[in-house]
Symmetry: C2
Subunit: 149 residues, 2 copies
DNA sequence: ACTTGACTTAAAGTTAACTTTAACTTGTAT
DNA sequence: ATACAAGTTAAAGTTAACTTTAAGTCAAGT
C-alpha cells in the first residue's frame, strides 16, 4: 500500500504542511519520491504511528531527530537507543504520576463546585478547604531552604 | 506566613520573572503589595499549587486566566466553573490514556532493543516487528475514507 | 495546447510561554 | 552618606513547533 501526502496526513490527523515540516527536520527517514512527490509506504506509516506516540509524550523534535539519526546508523547505536528509550519511559511514568495527582485535585474541585451549586454559594465549602487534601498535605516542600541556611 | 517573590519562586521551582509574567497575565489574583513589592501569603501559595496543577495538565494560560476571572466574579459563575472543571477532567483522562498507550509502545521497544543488544544486531528482532502489537493493531483508522467516498 | 489540482521548495510569519534587558526604586548594612 | 541587594515595570528578544505564502513543477482531463 502507498499513499499521497494528503492521504497520509488525513489518516494521521495532521496537515500535509506539518508532514513536510517533519520531513525537512529529518523526522521521516527515507521517504520515497516519485517525480519529486513524496510517496508514503507501510514502513513510513508504521514509523508515523511511533512518531505520533513520541509526540504524545511531549518528546521535543530535537530528541526525536536524535533517535532517528541513531536508528539510521545501524547496529552500532543499539545501546544508545536503548538508553534513550529507558529515559523516555521514565519521563512517561513521571507524567502519568503528575496527571494522576492533578486528576485528584480536579475531582476535589468537582465535589467542591457541586456542593457550592447545591447551596447556592461558595461560602459553604470554602471554609472547609479551597484546595484538595492531596495538595494540602505538603504546605512547603521538605527540601525547601530559606536563603543562607 | 508571607514570602518574597524570590522565596516563593524557589519553593515552586520557577523563576521570579515567570511569577511576574503570571501576575501580568492575571493568573495571580490579588497579590498584596508593600512598597510596590509583591508579598505572597498562604492563600497565594495555595493557589500557586493549583496553578501548578493546571500547568501540569497542559491547560493554556488563556484557559487558566478564564478560570481566575470566573472565580473573581463570585457565586454567579459557580456553574461555569463546574463545567470548566469537568471539561478539564476529561482532558486529563484522555492524556492519561494516551500516555498509557505510549508507555506500552516504549515497553515494547525496551524489549526490542534488549533482545537486539543480546544478539548484537537488530536483524534478529526487526523481522518479528519493528512496532508493538498495540500500535500494530489498527493499521488504518476505521473512520478513514479516501477522497470522494 | 491549455487549464486544473495536487504537489514541490524556500522563506517569511505566527503563537505561546517565557526570558532578558534597561532604567528605576527602596530597605538595609557599612 | 553611600553602596548594595532585591525588588519594580515596560518593552524587546527567544524558542519550539508549526503555518502561510510565493513561485514553480507536473500529470491528467478537455
Amino acid at each position: 500500500m502507498s499513499y499521497s501526502i494528503k492521504e497520509i496526513a488525513k489518516i494521521m490527523g495532521i496537515t500535509p504542511s506539518t508532514l513536510r515540516y517533519y520531513d525537512s527536520e529529518g523526522l521521516l527517514p527515507d521517504v520515497k519520491k516519485v517525480n519529486g512527490r513524496r510517496v508514503f509506504e507501510d514502513k513510513d506509516f508504521k514509523w508515523l504511528r511511533v512518531l505520533n506516540c513520541m509526540k504524545n509524550i511531549n518528546m521535543p523534535i530535537k530528541k526525536i531527530k536524535e533517535y532517528v539519526k541513531l536508528a539510521q546508523k545501524g547496529d552500532t547505536t543499539l545501546q544508545e537507543r536503548y538508553n534513550l528509550i529507558l529515559e523516555q519511559k521514565e519521563s512517561i511514568q513521571k507524567q502519568i504520576n503528575e496527571l494522576n495527582t492533578c486528576l485528584k485535585e480536579f475531582e476535589f474541585k468537582e465535589w467542591y463546585y457541586k456542593t457550592a451549586i447545591e447551596a447556592g454559594t461558595e461560602k459553604v465549602v470554602e471554609n472547609i478547604s479551597s484546595i484538595s487534601p492531596t495538595l494540602e498535605i505538603d504546605k512547603i516542600p521538605k527540601n525547601y531552604k530559606k536563603e543562607g541556611m
